[in-house]
Symmetry: C3
Subunit: 320 residues, 3 copies
């Protein structure tokens, strides 16, 4: 499929989560990102697709890498950017979340990238605003561009996702990365095992079509990828495991566990990584790790999302 | 008047306040902004008027919307921007305000946008620096671009300002928005009523050519616009009214009061708004509210100010 | 030497310090900066040398002027920028310095500007990353672009550095500015006197080819330049002098001392300056002061460094 037909098949004006995308939609993003990556490798890093447009970053939760990645993606497409962070902003003056968003919208961006601690916050915005909304993480709910870059990275190294076995390891209960990955992996035909302490793996997660394992060691030999979720101390309300040492002992990836994986298995981690917790330095810097590829791919994934949303808006306008 | 003659009639190298502008000057800004708005609606959002130039934002007080609006206005004219905020800056290392400003000037911007808690700070800079200075709010003194965008918004909806009646409601004493609005509205021939608790309305404000009312209800029926000033908890040194509830009861705009206004009356508020204080949600989201138009218009007003100051500097140089 | 041969003689892919540069290298930077300054004065402020490229600013220590200067230098060369500051970043989530840097590198910048409190941090990055690294200050070790702009400013006002006498005054022990200046000045043939309280002048500094004086008054008459180092309260671990008043009395530059200097002597200070400590207002604003020239020159020096590093990388690739 060439670029034009890819863009014209994509109908969504918002990117809220992978739950609401079809397998075809997901593949369209991955293919578009692959094209941007190919162009960049040929030296065409600066494109003009969004010239004259403005992309707003609305981050109500702190972020370095996702915000920076979206901002750079917008600039690579020649858009101007509006950077809004909650700290030091009008929010401290009592303005509501929606009023802040409407104010930013009134400045004329064509798309708004939003991160918020409340699940569903971007969905609410997509109903209230007239611009495209991209979810950059909403509480424990979804983080679609992270999952898309994970899928892209696996596909790039191992080809088609169908039939692959992927283990998501760690705090499944509070992880928006896990939820978005599950939706995406299942839609593309992968087998998914979620693996973590019983306190951090909700029983009813099986309704999403995944298997549960409480032992990393038991599943290691059969997986094609492990995705080591971040231990998010800041998101846990209670004491879900006895100690960091205990967690690292049972669910941390180390050299010994790495050697028991298939030769061509991949190790992903959304970062920022805690060396010695989710994985040891030997693993982080080892040959199975694709952690830095994920960062690189995140940029082209976000370019692809911005581009496809913009095309969908233009097509909707042309047909109106 | 076409763009060139408009720009050539504007002689000011600084925008310090509306007190020092003539009616003709003010109209020149509004007309230029209208032209930029028309161009944007035709799809010409990115102009090249300031290409190769740098605009510096010097914010010694926190700001989200004004800073973002100026920054985006500069980018829309293809200028580069320097962003300076007091927090985390050299000021914490003991540098004076003027030294900071001179340092920024030495980086070569052609214009400096400044917000400062001291009245007159931008005026002092305009005498000390060789670059154009734009006042983005100086203490309780003036906030010229806010007043210009208010005037623009009223004119856009209701035509010529002459003969219109505008009520400014709330904390008149501490409001730079009120002061700049009074100068601008009076110069363009509007009748101005200032309205608020006696503690927040200085008696001698009548010297600026305005009427005083201590009752919003008494003036509601005769006004074409109300501008609901923000209750600025952070700027009040004493207890000027008994309670927020009392303030909202007497001076807050609500559905009942809104219905007693003329059908085509407008409700403005500089934002960020406190829902339930200066106005109820019913009013904020109602048909008389032009609050979000104000934000949109703020962008083209700031583009117009940057553009006219730049033209004045170029003309001054050409004639030197 | 014309621009092309200058660029082709420069071989360094990193700018880590002046210790590792030859006199020829230093002159190549100064000449390139002079050319950028000449172009700017002719109105060519925006160049396209780095169009399509990205420059990342990684500041693990707070900075206003150096960060802003590098950022603007990158934009003037048409590069996109990634801005990373330690505060509010992933570092607070436990990520290591190197992982942060690798993550930024994975976003695809061609050069990384780094400031860090640890001496040698940029050198370590230059061995670990595949991109060009520019040291924007590493602890008490080096601050090469500050020294280069100091050299540039002296040369601009007084010509060739060879045979000139320069006094560096103040906290020599903790000053990366002093160290980089000593390397640069000595390589270009200047005589260097370091001058300060005995507690702040390490004895073995003479190994760097400098003279020591504990009395500013004794050397005043013979110097062509004094460079008044900042009293860095934040970098001193102990009490190195009795009081600020005592310091200002002995080592502060004031009107009386200024009058005892040669007529054409220059006064430099890296800023942000503490008026009344390192120098009095009379001196800061006096005819010998070139403090604001330093800021202006810092911009073209940083443009020159970015440009030369980029050319070296391109040449290395072409020859590979």
């Amino acid at each position: 499929m060439d670029g034009d037909s890819r863009a014209s098949n994509w109908k969504h004006r918002h990117l809220l989560g992978l739950e609401s995308l079809s397998a075809e939609d997901i593949v369209a993003v991955l293919d578009q990102a692959a094209e941007f990556k190919r162009l960049a490798e040929q030296g065409e890093r600066k494109l003009t697709a969004l010239a004259g447009q403005t992309v707003a970053n609305l981050f109500f939760e702190p972020s370095t890498r996702t915000r920076t990645s979206f901002s750079l993606a917008a600039k690579r497409l020649s858009a101007d950017t509006i950077e809004f962070s909650a700290s030091g902003s009008s929010l401290s003056k009592g303005e509501t979340y929606l009023d802040t968003a409407r104010t930013i919208e009134a400045l004329g961006p064509s798309m708004v990238v939003v991160r918020h601690s409340s699940p569903g916050a971007p969905h609410m915005l997509s109903r209230q605003l007239d611009v495209g909304v991209l979810n950059a993480g909403d509480g424990t709910h979804e983080h679609p561009t992270q999952a898309l870059l994970d899928l892209f990275t696996i596909r790039e190294h191992r080809g088609d996702l169908a039939g692959k076995t992927v283990a998501l390891v760690g705090d499944i209960r509070h992880s928006r990365v896990a939820r978005s990955n599950i939706w995406g992996l299942r839609k593309l035909g992968a087998r998914v095992i979620v693996c973590g302490p019983a306190t951090l793996v909700p029983r009813n997660i099986t309704e999403m079509g995944v298997e549960i394992s409480y032992s990393l060691d038991r599943v290691l030999g059969e997986v094609d990828c492990v995705n080591l979720l971040r231990v998010q101390f800041e998101r846990q309300r209670g004491a879900f495991f006895p100690s960091i040492a205990e967690y690292a002992h049972l669910f941390g990836m180390n050299g010994d566990r790495q050697r028991r994986m298939k030769d061509d298995a991949l190790i992903l981690a959304p970062g920022p990584i805690n060396r010695g917790v989710e994985l040891t330095p030997e693993v982080a810097d080892g040959s199975k790790s694709v952690i830095l590829d994920q960062v690189t791919n995140g940029l082209v994934i976000r370019m692809a999302c911005l581009y496809l949303l913009d095309r969908a808006a233009a097509n909707a306008e042309a047909n109106a």
